[in-house]
Amino acid sequence: MDATADDSQFDLIDLNAISLADLRAIDGSAFGQSLRRILDDIDRPQDAVAGWNAAIG
C-alpha cells in the first residue's frame, strides 16, 4: 500500500492551470493520450455508459 494513501484527501487532478494548446501539444505517451482523451470527453456530450468487462474491443 502507498504510505501516503489517504482516502479522505483524495482529489481529482485539476488541469485548469494548463493551456489547451499545451495539452494538445503533448506527446504520444500514455500520459499524453490520457490528456487527449479527457479533452475529447469535454468536447462530447457526457453520456458515457459502462460496457461489459468480459469482452474487449
Partner: protein
C-alpha cells in the same frame, strides 16, 4: 433503492450467448467452474427462433430510443463452436434488423483455438471484430487455460494470435486474467508481442465468500501486480497499446467518465440474452451464487423496457446511490465506483459492500494518480 430518482439508460450493448458449451476447461471460468452450474442443463446452441426474436427486440429498442450505435458481443461458452459461417450469418441478421440510423458493431470474444485462416477470413469478411482471451506466455496460459484432457491450449492460441496480428482491422484485443504467479511485466510484454490494439487485465472472480487466491488482510497483492504492469505501460515513451483498466482509471482521476463496468459510476447499459432467449444481467455475476443473473424475462414474452425496469438492472444504473455506506464515505469511490459489482457480493448480505479487491483498487488508483499528478505538475512548470 427507495426514494432514488432514477432515469433509465437504454441498453446499448447486448451479449448474445450463441453457444453454451466450451472446448476448453479453464479452471477459473465463471460459466462452468464457479457458483452457478446452470450450464449443465442449458440448451447448447441459440436457435433461429431465439435469434430472430432477439433481433426484433433489439431493433425495437434502438428505434424507440433513437440509439445511434449498438455493440453486440457474440459470446458463449465458446462462440466459435457455432462456426465462422454461422456467426457471419448471425451478424448479418443483427445488422439487417437494426434501424438504418443505428450502426451495429459486432464482436466475438473467443478462446482462440478455432481461429483458423479460413475462419478469420470469414469473420473479417463479415465485419466481426475478434477479442481473444489469453493469459500471456506458455507458462501463464498452461496454468489455467487447458483442454478438459489437460492438454495445453497455448500452441493453438499463439498461432491464432499471430494470424490476427496480420489482420489489425479485425483484431479487437486480448483479455488476460491476473494470476499472482505470473510476472506482471513479462505478462504485459508477452501480450504486446501480438500487437493487439488493446489489452485488459481482469481480476479473478472472487467475493467476500470466496476471496481471491493469495489475498490476505492488510495486503494488496493484486494492486501490487497491477502497479508493476501499469508502470511498464505508462513509462513507455510512446503508448504501445491501450490497456483498458489503466486508461479508465486515468480518465476518472482527471474527472472524466468510465466506459467500463469495472471502475467508475457510469450506468451499466448491457443486457445478456442467454442461449434459450432469457434476459440476464451481466453473466459474470454467476460467480456469486446460483441464479444471480436471472431476471425471469425473455425475448418471447417481454420487451426490453421490462428488462430496463428490473430492480437488478436498475441497481446498476443508479451510480453512487447503489454503493455501500463505507464506499460513499470514501472519496476514492468517484474513481473506483465501488469496484466491479460481482466482487462486492457477501453471502447473506448481497452487493452493498466494498469490493473484495478494495485494497488492491486503492493501491492501483493512488499510484496511477500519483504518477499522473507528477506529470501534470511538470507540465505546469514554465519551460
Amino acid at each position: 433503492m427507495h426514494g432514488i430518482t432514477w432515469r433509465p439508460t437504454p441498453f446499448r450493448e447486448f451479449v448474445l450467448k450463441v453457444h453454451s458449451r466450451c472446448n476448453l476447461a479453464c479452471d477459473y471460468c465463471y460459466m462452468y467452474e464457479l457458483a452457478d452450474k446452470s450450464w449443465r442443463t442449458a440448451t447448447a446452441v441459440m436457435s433461429d427462433e431465439v435469434l430472430d426474436a432477439a433481433c426484433r427486440r433489439i431493433a425495437a429498442h434502438a428505434t424507440a430510443y433513437s440509439i445511434p450505435a449498438l455493440r453486440i458481443v457474440l459470446h458463449g461458452g465458446e462462440p466459435m463452436l457455432l462456426g465462422a459461417a454461422r456467426l457471419s450469418r448471425v451478424a448479418e441478421r443483427l445488422r439487417s434488423a437494426a434501424p438504418a440510423s443505428t450502426t451495429v458493431d459486432v464482436l466475438i470474444q473467443t478462446n482462440g483455438v478455432l481461429l483458423t485462416d479460413a475462419a478469420l477470413a470469414a469473420l473479417a469478411g463479415a465485419g466481426i471484430r475478434i477479442g481473444v482471451s489469453f493469459d500471456g506466455d506458455r507458462a501463464a496460459t498452461d496454468r489455467h487455460r487447458r483442454y478438459a484432457s489437460g492438454r495445453s491450449s497455448f500452441a493453438a492460441v499463439d498461432a491464432a494470435l499471430r494470424r490476427l496480428r496480420e489482420r489489425p482491422a479485425a483484431f479487437a484485443g486480448i483479455l488476460s486474467v491476473v494470476d499472482l504467479a505470473n510476472d506482471p511485466v513479462g505478462t504485459y510484454e508477452a501480450l504486446l508481442a501480438y500487437e493487439p490494439p488493446m489489452v485488459d487485465f481482469l481480476l479473478p472472480h472472487a467475493n467476500w465468500g470466496s476471496p481471491p487466491p493469495g489475498s490476505s488482510a492488510g495486503r494488496a497483492p493484486y494492486g501490487d501486480w497491477l502497479v508493476a504492469a501499469f508502470d511498464r505501460w505508462y513509462g513507455a515513451p510512446v503508448r504501445e497499446t491501450r490497456v483498458r483498466f489503466f486508461e479508465e482509471v486515468l480518465n476518472l482521476v482527471l474527472g472524466g467518465q468510465s466506459h467500463t463496468e469495472v471502475v467508475g459510476l457510469s450506468p451499466v447499459a448491457t443486457l445478456v440474452v442467454n442461449v434459450d432467449g432469457s434476459y440476464e444481467q451481466v453473466d459474470t455475476l454467476r460467480s456469486a451464487y446460483p441464479g444471480a443473473v436471472d431476471t425471469g424475462l425473455n425475448v418471447f414474452g417481454h420487451d426490453l423496457d421490462e428488462a430496463l425496469r428490473h430492480p437488478a438492472i436498475k441497481a446498476r444504473q443508479t451510480g453512487v446511490a447503489a454503493l455501500s455506506g463505507t464506499c460513499r464515505s470514501c472519496t476514492l469511490h468517484r474513481v473506483c465506483g465501488g469496484g466491479y459489482y460481482p466482487h462486492r457480493y457477501r453471502p447473506g448480505e448481497g452487493f452493498r459492500n466494498p469490493s473484495v479487491y478494495c485494497a488492491d483498487l486503492r493501491r492501483l488508483i493512488t499510484h496511477a494518480a500519483g504518477r499522473l499528478r507528477a506529470d501534470v505538475e511538470r507540465l505546469k512548470q514554465p519551460a
